[in-house]
Symmetry: C2
Subunit: 307 residues, 2 copies
């Protein structure tokens, strides 16, 4: 039994209790959860047939038929014979039905608000973001491209987090030791010392307010720019984040009239190399080195921007 699974089970039990949907009367109304779900489904689709409801909510048609009969008697819904199929009816909410649903929505919202009232704005954001992550991972089984945001102003914590990502990711993927992280710390210190808002920039891709990818442009003498710290959390690869970051970086170089962009990398970073080549970088130097407990080639790639 994997611990992941048992942790998910634990969350499921927690959330079942949290949802509080196992009591008969939903939100102290005279309706059961099933009945509310039916009303909600009708409301969502504006107009729907009984058949469709049984499919969506997985209900017995006889059971549903009787519930709809009661709804009709109570004037919550309107049934209109379907023009295309004389066996079927189109069902929609009546004004009364809409009213009831809106009252229940308010109740439900109040209940939720009661549960989150102690959270501050950023905690609420984190909550919603985390819920979205859970949902995306459990449905599409992947992270939605729209959930990634991009920015390039450095705020406190950013550089530390990027250093952390370098240490953690290179440590995990290539078994680099902590010495590599120390080297990254040094390069960032130098960068910040010489930082010029006009000629330098860091781009960050974020998911749930956490940095998951980055790249930077560092100005160099003679109209040259260096592309550095290109990194992507493995869980977020294949979403076009890398391409977007590199494109932004190169566009910035063009805008700032750099004549040439270069980058130093190693032969190990195969995924990144592919992207560099795709963007137009060409290998210009290669040298064998031994460092951070590894043997590899240190390579230089260049991208000429002016003819």
């Amino acid at each position: 039994m994997s611990t992941t699974t048992s942790k998910i089970r634990s969350f499921n039990r927690f959330y079942t209790a949290h949802l509080d949907i196992l009591s008969q009367h939903y939100l102290d109304s005279e309706y059961s959860l099933t009945e509310i779900r039916i009303l909600y489904e009708i409301s969502e689709s504006k107009i729907i047939t009984a058949q469709k409801i049984t499919e969506i909510l997985n209900l017995d048609k006889g059971y549903l038929s009787r519930i709809l009969k009661r709804f009709l008697k109570e004037n919550l819904i309107v049934k209109v014979a379907s023009a295309e199929d004389k066996r079927a009816f189109n069902i929609k909410l009546s004004d009364t039905g809409n009213e009831l649903l809106s009252i229940l929505n308010t109740k439900s919202e109040n209940k939720i608000e009661g549960k989150i009232e102690k959270l501050n704005t950023s905690e609420k954001e984190i909550l919603v973001d985390s819920m979205n992550t859970v949902r995306n991972l459990l449905t599409e089984n992947k992270i939605a491209r729209e959930d990634i945001t991009y920015r390039h102003e450095i705020t406190p914590g950013d550089v530390g987090y990027i250093i952390y990502l370098h240490g953690a990711i290179y440590g995990k993927e290539y078994h680099f030791s902590s010495d590599f992280e120390k080297y990254v710390i040094k390069t960032f210190y130098d960068f910040l010392e010489k930082y010029s808002p006009e000629k330098d920039r860091i781009w960050m891709a974020e998911h749930n307010n956490k940095i998951v990818g980055c790249v930077a442009i560092v100005h160099q003498p003679d109209g040259e720019a260096q592309l550095r710290w290109f990194l992507l959390d493995p869980a977020f690869r294949g979403l076009g984040i890398g391409k977007r970051l590199l494109t932004d970086a190169v566009d910035f170089c063009k805008e700032k009239n750099f004549k040439n962009v270069f980058l130093l990398t190693t032969s190990m970073q195969d995924k990144a190399l592919q992207m560099y080549k795709m963007i137009g970088f060409k290998l210009t130097q290669s040298e064998k080195v031994e460092e951070w407990g590894k043997t590899f080639y240190e390579e230089r790639y260049d991208l000429k921007l002016s003819k």
Copy 2:
């Protein structure tokens, strides 16, 4: 209507459907969800009274009584008259009951595994982390003291993460600019340059594999040691983590025979100051400075270890 609330409602609907708990027969067993929850509750608490179950699961006692009667007939539970209260019975699972539950657990786990099989290791980590975040935010932010772990070996990513924490926390609490983070980066680089495993050490407190607090001892000339980078995520204060970290650090100094430990701090860090004093540190210097967009006193505290 706040969007936060409606987003949470949307997640709730999604998760209700995802949990698949609204069908009568739970996991294709002959038992209903309620019955399984009862069995689970008995299993969790090892031994429990019917009264307690009604409280936890919010069930009618008559209804529960009958279910337990059936469980007894089916040999799933064992009822023993309570010694303290002759009205009550202590209920526990029989071997058969444990067996049934373990079969259902396996089924449930298989189902979950089916849903996450397409996720890679880090996506699974993200899923579990997000679930933990949701849970923590929805449950009063109660962090259990036992959930905090301590360690002091530096692994890749640690230093970067600690820098990040400094930037983010001081940025949020004292509105320090990114210049402060740059300063922290410098101090860490110097530390790593002179690092000696015998005379230096960093302690980290972790929650969910994330660093939430730290402190370090840096050796200095003449048998002195400097205590640095004492920091605690605000969400984790008041749990005794700070005291534990400082005690560990001072104990290390004693063990390594340092004659004196000192630390440099500012008058702003009132929470930390209190802890320093509690451990035995005494104010020895104070100087007014202007830095990182603030005016404050830079103070030195000392703790003599040998008479």
